[in-house]
Symmetry: C2
Subunit: 532 residues, 2 copies
């Protein structure tokens, strides 16, 4: 089937190439339309009638040389917007940097320049680098409607992008934002593809490799669908929203940081795409690779260790799938001159004991303090990954990294470095020996004797979120038993902490339906054969 004539020909005959745009006085309408720009015009306004706008048309508004796109709402109430005025929602006002009563021009918005490329992708064609550049620019500039954004992410879902197209997309996403320059080489980083609750290895790896002298300026995200991101857990201990200047100073002094990457404008298209991927639960290999690598390269990393956990309730569930994903990451990284070390890890269960910001911060600090109550799996995993990063130093022999990392941790040098970073970023009050946890709790107990043969990452994550994490720092799940642990009927498997009764109720409802735990015999334990 071919495209509609409107789609093919519209861009060349868009009205506002010829028509003088119409001038109106700006008026701030105190309606919060979230990320969506909305313009309000009175139905009797001469401009509305002359231009043939329709409700929800996309219009372009210009003032002081700046322009934004907005959806049009038509109003029949002069107290909201009068004739001769152009009402704008709060977000639109801010984006435009405008003042009340300033004169603005309004015209029919042209279709985004890249719409032809989008249509070709929808038709199953392969796109070139310049096509991806055009699309990513329009995405970044908020020129795409929700319909167009969704069409793009669905049309590039699953295996719709070949590996070179994934590279093109990644490259375009890097170019569309800021690129940090640390004026040093190498700049090391570590990332996990996600899906494993409690997996806070970054907060151990950064102080370890920084103490080894490597530059590790880690910028992380907040939780999107998980109970805590690294930025959420780090925020329990220190400020994470820092201006780039301050970040540079900290990194210069301490060789590392643990900051939130949200303000740095790194791969900004990623955040826009995620806004439609998330409600659709889309997380295809191509989109994952482009999202992760564009953020890392924009953040200035030259060496990256990437953690791909596999397990029955992880994002990746089989070794062949993990290997395919690894090869895609490696191909794109190579095209982008990023030195990449992919490590496929055990993702059969959550890492550590605590799930939720305060609980996770407790576990991390216990590992750093060599506390006997520290979760061994978190310690071991962090040491292995830190070891791999350390081995990217030219003066370290292959296989020696783990021992070096262990020495740094056991000697207390990692703890010292972490405390220095915390102080530098701005310490928050947190006593990890008596972490403040939600006072409303319930416990889930084993229904029979046996061995823990399964812990569902997705159920545990969901429980912690329902209990209030990450917004409520003290909320979450504390796991008292892990895979392979023997249990007797009635033993506590985990404890849920919440601060609000409603949250506790939601979590209770889910856990009574699906506890997330399976009790069986040792032979039922799922195996994964990974490097460690």
């Amino acid at each position: 089937m071919t495209q509609h004539p409107d789609a093919v020909l519209a861009p060349s005959v868009a009205p506002n190439h010829h028509e003088p745009a119409s001038r109106l006085a700006l008026h701030r309408v105190l309606i919060d339309t979230y990320h969506e720009n909305v313009a309000y015009l009175h139905r009797d306004c001469a401009v509305y009638r002359a231009e043939g706008f329709k409700a929800l048309s996309k219009v372009e508004i210009r003032v002081n040389g700046r322009s934004i796109l907005a959806s049009l709402n038509v109003v029949d109430d002069e107290t909201i917007v009068a004739c001769g005025q152009l009402g704008l929602s709060k977000a639109a006002f801010v984006q435009l940097g405008a003042k009340e009563q300033q004169t603005a021009t309004v015209s029919q918005a042209e279709p985004p320049e890249s719409i032809g490329a989008l249509h070709r992708k929808l038709g199953g064609e392969r796109l070139a680098l310049d096509d991806f550049r055009a699309i990513v620019n329009d995405v970044t500039e908020h020129h795409y409607s929700k319909i167009e954004l969704t069409a793009f992410v669905v049309a590039t879902n699953r295996d719709e992008l070949d590996r070179e197209e994934v590279y093109f997309l990644t490259q375009a996403m890097i170019e569309a934002g800021r690129k940090l320059d640390w004026h040093e080489h190498p700049v090391v980083d570590k990332h996990c593809i996600g899906g494993i609750p409690g997996n806070r290895t970054s907060m151990l790896i950064v102080p370890i490799v920084a103490a080894h002298g490597m530059l590790c300026p880690k910028t992380s995200s907040r939780a999107i669908t998980s109970p805590a991101g690294t930025a959420d857990t780090m925020e329990v201990l220190a400020s994470v929203e820092l201006p780039f200047r301050q970040l540079q100073e900290i990194v210069h002094t301490h060789r590392g940081c643990l900051a939130w990457g949200g303000t740095a404008n790194l791969s900004p298209a990623d955040d826009v795409l995620i806004s439609v991927e998330r409600p659709l639960s889309l997380d295809s290999p191509g989109q994952m690779v482009a999202s992760i690598l564009s953020k890392k390269i924009a953040a200035g990393s030259t060496h990256l260790v990437l953690d791909i956990p596999i397990g029955p309730s992880a994002k990746v569930r089989s070794m062949p799938e993990a290997q395919r994903l690894r090869r895609l990451f490696e191909y794109v990284a190579k095209r982008l001159d990023l030195s990449l070390d992919v490590v496929i890890t055990d993702g059969r269960q959550p890492i550590g004991f605590g799930i939720g910001p305060n609980l996770e911060a407790r576990d991390v600090m216990r590992v750093l303090e060599n506390d006997p109550r520290a979760p061994m799996d978190l310690r071991q995993k962090a040491l292995r990954l830190a070891g791999r990063l350390i081995e990217s130093s030219p003066d370290v022999r292959g296989g020696d990294g783990f021992a070096i990392a262990r020495d740094i941790l056991d000697s207390g040098r990692a703890l010292t470095r972490m405390n220095a970073i915390i102080q530098a970023q701005g310490s928050h009050h947190f006593d990890h020996n008596q972490p403040q946890l939600g006072t409303l709790t319930f416990e889930v107990r084993a229904e029979s004797d046996g061995v823990v043969t399964g812990i569902d990452n997705m159920v545990i994550a969901r429980l912690a979120r329902l209990a209030g994490a990450p917004k409520v720092h003290g909320a979450g799940v504390d796991l008292l038993r892990k895979l392979g642990d023997p249990v007797a009927a009635g033993d506590v498997l985990y404890r849920v902490h919440a601060e609000f009764q409603t949250d506790l109720g939601f979590a209770q409802q889910l856990s009574s339906k699906a506890s997330g735990y399976t009790i069986g015999v040792v032979a039922d334990l799922p195996h994964v054969f990974v490097e460690f």
Copy 2:
């Protein structure tokens, strides 16, 4: 990759299973948000703060046992909506059938029930009939957001649906709306997949087959991206928006009608899906088959002649593509017990001379009156298709249909029947011998001597739309030369009619860039080998 836990588990733990919804007084906010329901809550409203709504959250509003979903806008201006009030946009007020100051309850909307099926389709899985039923119900009830609607149409684009899934989708679309019953058998109908301007054969076929005594209650659509739909052109001659009762009477008396199908609630999901397919120019075989067949079967048709035009600028450009589409239509029609006769026709150029409502109505009436100025191609095509429908009568021998149709047309019986139908539907004033055409005109002339070897359907359609069709009845394009006609340099190829200077300017701009005509030698004429 696997789904996010939120997506998997959310429906079972949605808040409003437990929480009492909050009560507020309805207030009509005079903002026209087009087809989108918007609810307005003041930021200081206790309900807003207690429920943890976010701007643009989907909320469910109930009053008098009816409920609608709406997007939430948060307001900081008491003159728009006060604390304790729930503001609703005009469309939402109408949908809810509510009165000012009535008490309504508002709660967080649950995710649509079919969201799991949508996620499986996004993951590339095959869906069952019940999955399509659930999705189509949610689409029809406006439970899907724009993101979800778009995801569905893109995930079922191209070859993503196998033929049985296309049947499932079609069946689900039929079930979701009304089904007309004419209490008679057979009920014949004719449809074209579109893309050929001026192709108004229905307005000739209906009076011919009705005059032959067959029941042909034709419901058509208005133009979506074309310069005129059958309903638009018929509206030049008569009213087309008729209550079903009146339609039944007309059909009972005259054996046929030519009405707009928009009010009858036939396959209502189709209209919702089209609202996102259209801006994306999506028109895949599966979606086309489900859209057309669901509308026809819902309209009560038992026998359908389907016109698939092929040509270099038609929707279908090659015979293999046409045959694939034919087989898909036939498979689904068979599963639905619809007797289907697919005719692959010559789609190399527009049909008739006039493009646009008044110009097309002129051509149709000239054919009915056996006027020598009538376009022969429109006459011939209508007779052939009418003949095929007539042959579905058990008493007509194969091959005799064309001659029967021609006798009915040549004898004036088709004209008489058409006039009766026009009178019954409510005649509009239209003098087809002096049709009212847009007074602003320009002509496009041949730049060289030769033969017309190409007329681009898409360019001609676009020109007619830019000139104002179908909204401006007298606007459009009048073709003075057709394929194969010899021309001398300077001869007029076509004339564009508009009523407004701006429209004329847009059309002029396009025609100077792309006239739509190719002049060459006879050997360059594209060939199509079709049944007629």
